[in-house]
Subunit: 390 residues, 2 copies
């Protein structure tokens, strides 16, 4: 197995509905990523692209073929990955392996999505397809409902009164919005307070508006090469040193583990073992905070905090920049935004720039090891990547 | 790179609309494939699944996670591949490489689709998403129109009068229906004649009803293992010895090549080179006959017949069992059926059984080398696999 480096990254601003197509959004991020690496489209040997709702939002299936052609990467193999919110992370994981194993030397990976274009109401209903179609969403369950139930389970399991948990959840959102203010490519640039979060409209009890991330439009791209190539292309390579992926079925089949997400514990174990690291080694992590409760659940299963303790950790600043582990310095899904099929690539974009020390006011000082964590559906797909400064 | 063997295959009957879900159809084929290999679901290390319309037909996104869970392959990484009709071939190609490169020893690949469930009219309109969404289908083009245009181009380029070409196209359909009669898992068991084909309703001039394949429901599964494992599991391993994949953009961008499909010529070259073979070495080929004209175009670009000569070759029996190369002995998409995201796996199912000598009345005697060819969209994705009897 060869070492694999990220030699270029690009990301559009994540935003509300706008007019560019998914193909055009991806081109914007891909050109930035190629430019950073001083590569041309004809240097790319394969494309691995996350996209989840493109057929519904734009009527564009098989978007990867058009995305490759559109940037001038003619005739290359182009794969699309669809694992709900984890799509782009799956694409990068696969891209990693095709380079690590020696089949390709230079590949482009990433994701693109126009989730905001659908509007929140339609997107929520459509996106419910990524839960089980036989038994779950025919009952009327959409994802806010799923994560609301997880919040109740979390409260009961760890003996944290719901009112206390709601405050802890609000702290995660306040932190994310604070960091989003510092990220020019974030969807939201709006500071919020605990009071504002707790006074916001109820979505699905106990989750209120500011417990929920938005649907965004956006794209992100990553160029991966072999170590040998990377040394010629950049003096700031970032290596992918651990990968993990796991799946799970309907929520009912996950019940013995909930509110923990079983697939995350399998996936992150794979990534840590491959990297030869432990949670204590992670300096910065972009994790899947689709809802505030999801942040707490993720940070615990990734091993950063004890079970039932994550809320307190956030309150103490242990999840902040300068704390034990900097979580979501980009603003996370909550403030940076959530263009479903592009989200994993957006996480890698942030981690790579953090490890290169390019993040200005939101820089995690001295960050050497970063991690991404992307959850698709209600535990259906989980993908983790661990990256290291070269 | 290690040798990779197919040690088990399974396929449901391809059919019109029926009541099983995509997850259930896949389970049926997967259990047959595992059973052939004397393996259990817990032996599977990863799932690679083609599925294309599951969100539209059943409202089931991320079907791969539920498919893995449903057969008892808990927690494994599960990827979905969506490249229109080429989806399952892409899944098998990727599965091949994850085993060949040594990451996994035992993987399950395949595809599942309920394309018939939508009904032909809705499926045709929905499936048009797999052409370019900006400039092609907003003009009203669906795939019958695309292939009708290719037939006109073919007629003009090679100087074959349209009436003559229509007869040659009808010959391909008659042959496919004849073989479909011999395949118990085919969608259609109905012999047709040239006269019947030429008298059938016009779909998109010059393509008539019997020039077009159906949309089908169905699934197929393939178990791949390392050579070392395979030797313990079966005395009839079939090795994948060549893979190829390529993409292309909107038809307008392919114009200098049409009616040839550029992606096919790139993809098949990769597969032949990897296998160290030429078209003359192929005994049996399952190729992408979504329309009768597509058969002719494919057989020429794969190198079996000279350009402009495929129709005559079919008329002379050179594409029949016992001819120069046996094309679509399963009945092909035309008669075996076309469950979009499962089609590539159905092709591999047939080739493996042919190479094992299990095909009864439609057996290609002494077949040692087989090939699959799957086209996604109007040239957007092309995938080829070459298999060899062990």
């Amino acid at each position: 197995m060869r070492k694999v480096a990220v030699v270029g990254v690009g990301q559009t601003k994540f935003s509300g509905a706008q007019e560019k197509t998914g193909v055009e959004l991806f081109a914007e991020s891909a050109m930035d990523a190629l430019s950073e690496a001083s590569l041309k489209p004809k240097d790319i040997q394969a494309l691995f692209l996350g996209n989840c709702l493109g057929d519904f939002t734009e009527g564009q299936g098989m978007v990867q073929a058009f995305a490759a052609d559109n940037i001038g990467a003619f005739g290359i193999p182009a794969n699309k990955y669809d694992g709900a919110c984890a799509s782009a992370s799956m694409a990068i994981r696969d891209a990693f392996w095709w380079v690590a194993s020696g089949f390709y030397d230079v590949v482009l990976a990433g994701g693109t999505e126009r989730a905001a274009t659908m509007g929140t109401s339609l997107a929520t209903r459509t996106f419910a397809m990524f839960s089980d179609s036989r038994y779950e969403y025919p009952c009327g369950i959409t994802f806010p409902g799923v994560f609301a139930m997880l919040a109740h389970l979390y409260s009961a399991k760890y003996g944290i009164p719901l009112e206390k948990l709601k405050e802890q959840m609000a702290v995660t959102s306040v932190q994310s919005h604070r960091y989003g203010m510092l990220n020019p490519r974030a969807h939201f640039h709006k500071e919020i307070t605990i009071e504002k979060a707790l006074g916001s409209p109820m979505v699905s009890q106990p989750l209120q508006l500011y417990d929920c991330c938005p649907f965004s439009d956006g794209a992100a791209a990553v160029v991966l090469t072999s170590e040998e190539k990377a040394k010629k292309l950049t003096n700031q390579p970032v290596y992918i040193i651990g990968i993990g992926q796991a799946s799970a079925g309907p929520l009912a089949n996950q019940q013995e583990y909930l509110p923990r997400i079983r697939a995350r514990e399998i996936s992150s174990k794979q990534a840590y073992e491959m990297a030869g690291l432990t949670p204590q080694d992670i300096d910065v992590c972009e994790l899947h905070d689709c809802f505030s409760i999801a942040s707490l659940i993720a940070a615990e299963s990734l091993g950063f905090f004890d079970f039932g303790q994550a809320g307190e950790a956030w309150e103490k600043g242990e999840a902040a920049i300068g704390g034990k582990v900097a979580i979501n310095p980009s603003g996370g899904l909550k403030a940076k935004g959530h263009p479903i099929g592009a989200t994993g690539a957006g996480q890698v974009y942030e981690i790579v720039r953090q490890l290169r020390g390019e993040c200005g006011e939101r820089q995690v000082e001295g960050a050497k090891i970063g991690m991404t964590d992307t959850l698709g559906g209600d535990g259906g797909t989980l993908c983790n990547l661990i990256l290291q400064r070269g």
